[in-house]
Symmetry: C2
DNA sequence: AGACTTTTTCCGGTTACGGTAAAGAACGGG
DNA sequence: CCCGTTCTTTACCGTAACCGGAAAAAGTCT
């Protein structure tokens, strides 16, 4: 139900085509909401059927014609209405946590590799967000119209930093665990060597 | 595809019935993975069909009989195999961010109320996690078997603290915004009063 | 008797996720 | 001129997830 509203949210800015929306969902709003163009187009037809948006064909030369979608009054009202409802806090739902939950039934080598890849991923995103922040909000402040985007960006930054730190913690914890295991197996070896009297 | 693996992860601990699993998904693993009992039972039959788990009926007196599910060797291997694949970083996908993204097309009063509810929600969860941490890991350390659960908990803690801080930031930003708007409308009033020469 | 817990199951609808594919036009480079 | 890429929309498919409602059948507690 929320994808439709995410699209409406995009269209409150200015009318857009499905293609542009797909681009938007790859960058700005897509930082916290992933979809592909197929889902967008499907959702757009549904929204049009509901009368929340209106398509207007724009003839182009040099490019295929495009369908620019505009919010209707109903669509605007529907979005406003949706936005006035309390949000439901999302759950984290990260595969990694499932792996960790059953850590002793899992191979640690690929898990550590995964954690390191994730560390890099979140670090990259953090830096990317920082660059965007510096570029779009050099003063660290925003006009009322852009305040919400600043706040979203700030959550993104906080989130990526938080996960990055956690990844580092997890990686060292995992290393400690394996080195401890190696130490015990070494001492077990010694015991065994002594015991067998080699 | 991941719900099945989350269930397998639970069953690596010890055999369980669907009912127990549903309980587990309301507490420990459910802190970062939400489902209801219907989905669990459906997934359980699928897993049984695949041969990943095995059901054994236990006759009870005083209660309906129950079906205890145990991991099979194939199930264990399948989970191990799944866990060795790289995880996909989840997206945040929070309704609140969509609302903020289109802040100027939204009523701020319910949005602020929502933010305050969320603040309380995340604060509660933070405290809850802290209590669990103190209870289950009083030393802040864990045995190798429980290390993964400690790490998951730590992520949960970090996450809730991070969102809590962000909520506070967002609420003050929203307040600043409305008070600024009130100030400009006040001065506009004054200008108008002067202009109309009341 | 009524309410609640335990335990499993079925149903149906909507949404999301993921991949595969086509189509037509024009622009760019080689 | 062919080839690849960008632009733009649309279609289909299967599976997974989400949501909510419902009902069994047994027992316990009030």
């Amino acid at each position: 139900m929320a994808l439709a509203d995410a699209i409406l949210a995009c269209l409150t800015e200015h009318p857009m085509t499905g293609y542009e929306l797909a681009k938007t969902f790859e960058s700005s709003i897509g930082f916290f909401w992933k979809t592909d163009h197929q889902q967008i187009y499907r959702e757009l037809s549904r929204l049009r059927d509901r009368g929340h948006i209106q398509g207007r064909e724009v003839v182009q030369s040099g490019k295929p014609n495009k369908l620019v979608y505009t919010l209707t009054a109903e669509g605007r009202a529907a979005f406003r209405h949706w936005a006035a409802r309390p949000s439901t806090p999302p759950s984290i739902k990260d595969d990694l946590l499932v792996r960790l939950y059953a850590l002793d039934s899992v191979d640690i080598a690929p898990l550590r590799a995964d954690l390191m890849a994730r560390l890099e991923h979140h670090r990259d995103r953090y830096e990317r967000f920082e660059r965007i922040l510096k570029k779009r909000f050099p003063q660290g402040t925003a006009s009322p119209a852009d305040m919400g985007k600043l706040l979203s960006l700030r959550l993104g930054l906080r989130h990526e930093r938080m996960v990055t730190e956690w990844c580092e913690e997890a990686i060292t914890a995992l290393s400690d665990l394996t080195s401890a295991a190696a130490a015990t197996s070494r001492s077990a070896d010694q015991r065994e060597r002594r015991g067998s009297g080699d």
